[in-house]
Symmetry: C2
Subunit: 523 residues, 2 copies
């Protein structure tokens, strides 16, 4: 890979790989496709779409993204084993620009305790993996896992081998979020000295936020010469997550005059991407989150408000419109027609026609009857809610609930099973939501247990849509589901049956025969 512009930073988005590795997140293929399409609109350079060998579901999603999403490079992750790399290749090969990303740890703590092997073996595996990947694709990325806790000389040796075998990107991960900016700078400088070949490839950084330094460490990496940053929307990922894409992008944007590095990110797509990912993963963004938190651009103190009224830049270094907040003024009402809805959805980036448009229009009319103004945020929520419905899943048909502070709440529900049967169930619970959930368990014969439950309002206002997230434990594993409605009980019930459907779908795919070569489990 050539680097025509030395000041151009490549944004490698790992929302669908490291981000999706967060507990309780289980996206289906259509949800992953929707996020990938939005990442392409956002202007990321690389989408790491998944880790194909880990499950048939992951494989299918990576393949669907490789086949359907245009623009970014589509990467699949793989351990060094040949079958792992084969699976990654089969998953990404239909992309315009496929990449295989292979990795092995270089830290002694990982080599001894996890891999239970030797440095020599790690060198051999790295060499074989990159060589094998290069048989399939020209664009190969190699990562020495846990590099920041590894011996820098050994890591440099492994990187040199990877480059010798044809790796075009070398990514230095701070896998456990341990390093500090100056330390990371010094580590990278030493690596450049020990492996001068790094000047001929793209050096990348991948930082975790365990000590709150993911963005600062990534930025230190760029200042030390890296030109790719691995990051995730809303900073999701293993444990405390990855460097937050929006913070990296807006740091480089806001301080461009002093730093002089550019990305290809269309900043006005940031807010929408953040909302989409939050909604589909069920991972809330805290109000004080930088860039995309609800209050990131709000001023509460009288002194600050006074300053901003006199001159915006007294307390604002960024404009909310730059990140796509308040940018959209779409407002529909009960008299808006099908065409107006279609146009509004197109403006939001959703291509909806035929039966899907009919369905979206029906939901829209239902909402417009209850809510005076239907905004862009509402439409986004409704359309993503529709994306969640698959064939072959449970559906909530109707419910009746009586709740009172003076007697226990009682619920009756009707559910359509994946087989098309209608079943009803009743329960008297501790609260109305609890009663509905237990009534659904009774109707479906499930013994799912609720682990987490959350409700957020999509917009402000008394008539706001409520967005509900549930995480269930089914047979020792977790599954999540989300639902949207102006009625919190309906939203909760929808989320619950979707989580049940997700759990069932996963147990089906996990039980699938691993005989097909692309479905072989990781060794």
């Amino acid at each position: 890979m050539t680097r025509p512009d030395p000041d151009r930073v490549l944004i490698f988005d790992t929302t669908l790989r490291d981000g999706e590795q967060s507990p309780g997140i289980s996206l289906n293929t259509s949800e992953k496709l929707e996020i990938a399409a939005q990442l392409a609109r956002l202007g990321v350079d690389v989408i790491e779409a998944g880790f194909p060998i880990t499950s048939p579901g992951d494989f299918e999603a990576v393949q669907a993204i490789a086949r359907n999403v245009e623009g970014p490079i589509i990467a699949g992750l793989a351990l060094t084993q040949a079958d792992d790399i084969d699976a990654a290749h089969r998953a990404v090969r239909d992309a315009d620009r496929p990449r295989i990303h292979t990795f092995i740890s270089t830290s002694d703590i990982h080599i001894r305790h996890q891999l239970q092997t030797t440095r020599e073996d790690v060198m051999g595996q790295a060499r074989a993996a990159v060589a094998h990947a290069r048989e399939f694709v020209e664009d190969v990325e190699f990562s020495p896992m846990d590099a920041t806790r590894a011996d820098v000389e050994f890591t440099a040796e492994v990187c040199r081998i990877a480059i010798e075998e044809g790796a075009t990107t070398i990514n230095i991960p701070d896998t456990v979020g341990y390093t500090m900016p100056d330390e990371f700078t010094a580590y990278l400088r030493r690596l450049y000295e020990l492996a001068p070949e790094l000047a001929d490839v793209v050096v990348s950084v991948h930082c975790h936020d365990d000590l709150g330094l993911a963005v600062a460490n990534s930025f230190a990496g760029l200042l030390a010469g890296a030109r790719q940053v691995e990051c995730a929307i809303n900073g999701i990922g293993e444990r405390a997550g990855n460097a937050s894409l929006e913070e990296i992008a807006m740091l480089l944007h806001t301080r461009a005059a002093d730093v002089g590095l550019q990305t290809g990110i269309r900043t006005t797509e940031i807010a929408r991407t953040s909302r989409l990912v939050s909604r589909l993963t069920g991972y809330a963004v805290q109000p004080n989150k930088a860039i995309v938190g609800r209050n990131a651009f709000a001023h509460e103190s009288g002194i600050h408000q006074d300053g901003v009224l006199k001159e915006r830049t007294t307390y604002e270094i960024m404009d909310a419109q730059t990140v796509g907040l308040e940018a959209n003024s779409i407002v529909l009402g009960k008299h808006s027609g099908r065409h107006a809805l279609q146009q509004a959805l197109e403006e939001l980036g959703f291509q909806v026609t035929g039966q899907a448009l009919n369905q979206a229009f029906a939901r829209f009319k239902e909402l417009a009857d209850k809510k005076k103004q239907v905004t862009a945020l509402d439409l986004e929520a409704l359309v993503t809610d529709e994306l969640r419905d698959d064939l072959g899943a449970y559906a909530l048909l109707w419910f009746d609930v009586e709740a009172s502070s003076r007697r226990p709440p009682h619920a009756t529900v009707a559910v359509r099973t994946p087989e098309g049967e209608e079943r009803t169930g009743s329960f008297t619970g501790d609260g109305p939501i609890d009663a509905v959930f237990r009534a659904i368990n009774a109707a479906t014969g499930s013994d799912a247990r609720l682990r987490e439950f959350r409700v957020d309002a999509v917009t402000g206002g008394q008539d706001a849509l409520g967005e509900t997230s549930v995480v269930l434990e089914v047979d020792g594993r977790t599954a999540s589901g989300q639902g949207v409605s102006t009625d919190i009980i309906e939203a909760a019930g929808r989320a619950y049956v979707r989580a049940l459907s997700n759990a069932q779908r996963r147990s089906r795919t996990d039980a699938a025969e691993p005989s097909a070569p692309e479905l072989a489990p990781a060794s």
Copy 2:
């Protein structure tokens, strides 16, 4: 102030000042006292308890904290005006170790546009303010606001004046979250050169997270010589908030061998402090938040889980117990008595006796009837819920709700007014919660509008307590309230009437005669 140990970093907590300046947070005095007491248990060195002149409520809370919370220095914030400093002094003077913190901007953008004055005037104001504060207390902190966007030479001149007049701490704020670690280091080094007197006082840093760099910039400040960090629990504060206290503390703790700086933080109190602040402010902590997020210590990927099972340190640089997660094994049940409850509460740091214990015991029994195991998290939630009830507030007496997917939901509620009257109201709404809220409006004659609504489960499990947060708009201002119950409708109703009570209390105190000298408004 002397600095006996050059490696000791002072933790200055501004949760109750900058943190409380976040939109929608309105803590009452008993809530602020509870947080301050927990901050003392956590081991912070300084509690900035508020900005006394801004409102009678703020004044009262700072005074109550100064009088009741032992251990930390208690600081009150003040602009440079004499009456502002007078108010801060009256609020903090009863503390064992009072501090007055005064500030004025040194950036030209603030001087020109907000203060609409000259550099000469700023120097004069800084001199007068510090001199005036030193007439009252020995411990005076001065901050040149917006320092990182100010001319460093002018800022140094103002700092020298403040030190000459007796300031013992000089705090360098990155007010708008604009700086970058290397830039901040260079700025501070230059400041030390220009104002060598800084070596004789404590230098402090106060960083905001607008570009995701608050912790990294604070850390850069420490490496450049600062020995006080201003930070807030969960990183709350204006816009994207302040540096997160728990991230700073755990960074210094985890990397102590390499960095060599210590704090007085008892890390095992971190998780509880975070939960308390989140609960009382209504500000959720995102699951991927470093240190205190629900998933900060969770491993999802098979590779990571496998590694941790073989050897914990393969993927963990901190132990969850170090921050107080999973540390508490208190479990009570329906047969637990009053004494067991009192002991459990004491273990959690709550001193509850007499009528308060009776009330807590009644709530506990009610919960134990519904929930098999009552845990430390449940007790914390119940006790903090009790803290929210004031005399002279609205109370939800009972409610009846019918909700169905087949007809509009209907609610009837009874509310006791602050005057002791019982009033009922009914409404048919878009959803059951909406119907309850509007029925409460009907009962109380209020025209409050819902701006935000959120529900979280306190613990996992089908029988979990639900914790509800609402933000209302009443007469153009926002007010928040929280409620806890196993019944989501009850929790929501409680939160709503508390938000109404908070709004009413504030409009009462705002309307209070400013004739008493300590209640003079800011000029």
